[in-house]
């Protein structure tokens, strides 16, 4: 087999596996969310379908697939159908540059647990996710519904505003690591200081500030509570996806959860050492353990997401904008200056 065709085959297999795992993960993230929020509110949550409601996501997907798919009469048909796709594709694309495991050896085969390591990896993610705004904005506009339009407008304003602090908080990580490739950023975080503290970026001096600004803006970017203004149900019915039903709504839903997972994966990669963790045992276990560490870190972030959702009330819209522009952006700018000073002083 030639080099090109084996590359093509390998990448295709990786893509299929990653997308399948991702969609499965989304299904069980919804289960986790419902279960954890229920317990936070002293309820049981899903408990009828399967053991502890474990089959509930499958039932939900079946319900979504079988529901009637309606298109409002006054809607702009083409854009109405296109919008969920525009939202979904970038969300799925951005996972391709994230490294989720070390290079592993299975017999004679060498597998790299990353679809592709671009040398502009982190910028690629920003480029791709910035296109995702159109899905939400157009979905709101094409439905020809006032609430949807308001949701779409709010969401595009919110996402543009918080993209700024999101990008700026990543700049300081780039200043410290000196590379845009996510694979290299993870490689640089291997090893320990004094034999105990792992060399994760979060423990490098000013980077915990950028982690804070990153994660807060990320919650706003993914439209999650307490920043879920685009779909504030007591003001806007359901925001930009009010008119969507069946699998088109399912696409928006899927997008939101994929974005949550992606954002957690980037946070893990940039600040928490990616797949680094203690490895031991035989060779195959050493190959698998990084995957396990990576997934557990993501699950920790997802639990944090759900915890915030169960705890904090929603912001008012002017508070949201003021918080973004008057607090997060100046803070992340100051952090860039501080990090540059630290880097220059060390050099």
């Amino acid at each position: 087999m030639s080099e090109f065709s084996s590359f093509l085959l390998g990448t295709t297999i990786k893509c299929i596996v990653v997308i399948a795992v991702l969609i499965g993960a989304v299904a069980y993230t919804t289960w986790l969310e419902r279960k954890v929020v229920a317990h936070l509110q002293i309820r049981w949550g899903p408990s009828r379908v399967g053991w502890h409601g474990l089959l509930q996501p499958i039932a939900d997907v079946l319900k979504l697939l079988l529901k009637e798919d309606m298109t409002p009469g006054q809607a702009s048909k083409f854009l109405y159908v296109l919008a969920p796709l525009i939202a979904f594709v970038p969300a799925a694309l951005s996972i391709t540059v994230i490294p989720f495991g070390n290079v592993a050896h299975f017999g004679s085969q060498t597998v790299r647990f990353q679809i592709t390591d671009l040398n502009v990896g982190i910028l690629f993610i920003f480029a791709v996710t910035s296109v995702g705004v159109y899905g939400v904005a157009l979905g709101g506009w094409a439905s020809n519904n006032k609430y949807s339009l308001m949701g779409g407008l709010r969401s595009s304003a919110q996402m543009i505003s918080y993209e700024l602090s999101l990008g700026l908080s990543v700049v300081s990580v780039l200043l410290v690591t000196g590379t845009l490739s996510l694979g290299q950023i993870v490689d640089l975080q291997g090893g320990r200081w004094f034999g105990i503290i792992p060399k994760w970026n979060i423990f490098v001096f000013p980077l915990f500030i950028s982690f804070f600004t990153y994660f807060v803006s990320a919650i706003a970017e993914t439209n999650r509570l307490p920043f879920d203004l685009p779909e504030a149900e007591n003001e806007l019915v359901a925001g930009f996806h009010t008119e969507y039903s069946s699998m088109k709504f399912g696409m928006f839903f899927l997008t939101e959860y994929i974005n949550m997972i992606t954002v957690s994966a980037i946070a893990t990669t940039l600040f928490f050492g990616g797949w680094h963790g203690p490895t031991f045992g035989p060779l195959w276990l050493r190959g698998i353990l990084p995957l396990f560490w990576f997934v557990s870190k993501i699950v920790a972030f997802l639990l944090f997401y759900i915890w915030t959702r169960g705890t904090l009330p929603r912001f008012r819209y002017d508070q949201l904008m003021a918080f973004g522009w008057k607090f997060l952006v100046p803070l992340s700018l100051a952090n860039v200056v501080l990090t540059s000073l630290v880097v220059a002083w060390r050099a």
Binding site: V133, E163, L180
Partner: protein, 164 residues
């Protein structure tokens, strides 16, 4: 292989550009323009300029066009009921200007050093190379542009918020 891919995307780019002019609704035009931007970014990738490609998408598709779409959505204009009046001025000035632009592009293409070796071309577009050139050879123009942009930002603030 690369030529085939180039022609596929070039066809899409030209089709989207024409579609932008033909469409009656502003939002459809804006979306076609976004498709053109995305295709341009693919051409940059094919020229080994990954940094430029990604920045093209972030700045144009991700920021500028979002504002366009945002404003169109906010104003919510209807479809153009009648085409803009065929202005004679457009014909008199537009055609020669278009030909001028065409001639400029042809002259530039003639002058461009196309015969360079493949590895040399691969090293021009990386982030490191772009950064190094910006902060050494073109430092003064680069700083001038940032000052200009700063002035534009201040102007926007002054225009929109008259009393602070």
């Amino acid at each position: 292989m690369q030529t085939i891919v180039f022609f596929i995307f070039a066809f899409i780019a030209v089709a989207a550009a024409i579609n932008m002019l033909v469409q009656k609704h502003p939002i459809h035009s804006a979306l076609s323009l976004i498709v053109v931007m995305a295709m341009l970014s693919i051409f940059y990738v094919m020229l080994y300029a990954e940094f430029l490609a990604v920045v093209q998408v972030i700045v144009y598709a991700g920021a500028i066009m979002v504002l366009f779409v945002f404003v169109i959505m906010l104003l919510n204009p209807r479809e153009e009921s009648h085409r803009t009046r065929q202005n004679r001025f457009l014909l008199v000035a537009g055609v020669p200007l278009g030909l001028c632009l065409m001639a400029e592009i042809v002259i530039l293409l003639r002058r461009a050093p196309l015969g360079e070796n493949e590895t040399g071309r691969q090293l021009v577009g990386t982030t490191e190379a772009v950064g190094r050139v910006l902060f050494t050879d073109y430092l003064l123009p680069f700083e001038f542009i940032s000052v200009l942009i700063l002035i534009a930002i201040l102007g926007a603030v002054v225009l929109t918020k008259r009393e602070l």
